[in-house]
Symmetry: C2
């Protein structure tokens, strides 16, 4: 229940005032910390809705030539609404991974492609770890540090498991042979 775009905006605004554009950048920059994504197409309407409901206030600053900057800040009601979310129960975690879905059918993937996919995933995870480590000093609260290191720990575990067990998928097949047909139930 907690993780809709509006609620996340409330959370971000609890860290300080921001424009829609800045909020979008935080969604991107801290993506490993927050595990959420959102586009302008959802952020701007969400902010408008929050304003209509009195949870945020808008102060307009003239952008020179650019569209005016609309700086949002939490109202007392908005602060209260967010506090209440924090007192509730989080919804279930969801991990969606095309990569893992494909590995489920590893025997249908040609050996070379399979190895490439695993190599790329490891590189991707290493990149995330570097990114998190590099951004760590930016963390302003224990919560932010905790979540960052939690994300890193999970990435490290994933890499370790891939390295230690990839042979179980790879050694079955002669290097570049097409996957053999599987029996049907």
């Amino acid at each position: 229940m907690a993780l809709d775009v509006g609620t996340v905006c409330l959370g971000i605004l609890s860290l300080g005032d921001a424009t829609g554009y800045e909020i979008k950048k935080m969604f991107e920059d801290d993506k490993m910390q927050i595990f959420v994504e959102a586009s302008f197409g959802s952020i701007y309407p969400a902010l408008a809705r929050l304003a209509k409901d009195g949870l945020v206030e808008v102060r307009t600053e003239s952008g020179n030539g650019r569209p005016d900057r609309k700086i949002y800040s939490l109202t007392a009601a908005g602060k209260k609404a967010f506090d209440e979310v924090m007192l509730g129960q989080p919804g279930p975690d969801r991990f969606r991974s095309d990569f893992l879905f494909m590995l489920l059918f590893a025997d249908l993937i040609p050996g070379a492609h399979l190895s490439a996919l695993i190599d790329e995933k490891i590189a991707d995870l290493e990149g995330r770890i570097d990114y998190i480590t590099q951004r760590m000093p930016d963390a302003k609260t224990p919560g932010q540090r905790f979540v960052a290191s939690h994300g890193r720990a999970i990435c490290e575990a994933a890499i370790r498991h891939l390295r230690d067990n990839r042979h179980l998928l790879e050694e079955t097949l002669p290097a570049d042979a097409p996957a053999p047909a599987r029996k049907r139930a």
Copy 2:
């Protein structure tokens, strides 16, 4: 791109013929292995679409009193389409966690509630590990075993990190005190 309901149905059907109802059950039962969820409202239309596109065939078996069982099986075209998905690139992983989002703002959560949330998350993860371990023998391919043990490894890492670092969030606050106000940017 790979992870829409239709593609997952194709994958499940590559393991053997099944009805929509059975596919739904697999989505639920093997949820830790597949990391995907889908409801009847998306499965039945997806199956109809696949049939229209000639990727699956339907054979109807009279259900006695119940609606007829419609048993789907992959056609040659469907097998080929799925093989092609397996040759492609997986989309990015997405991990969405209300729990981690809340921890980001741990300083807004009363100490007792915070501890309860962490305890519950650990219990939840332990449950998943048990579930995976228990279902392991059902795995029919190396891919299924690999993905199951990968999921387990990640859950174990998450528990370890929570246990080893929860004090960083908890010790800041005197047990049941309300979270102190935070400075704004």
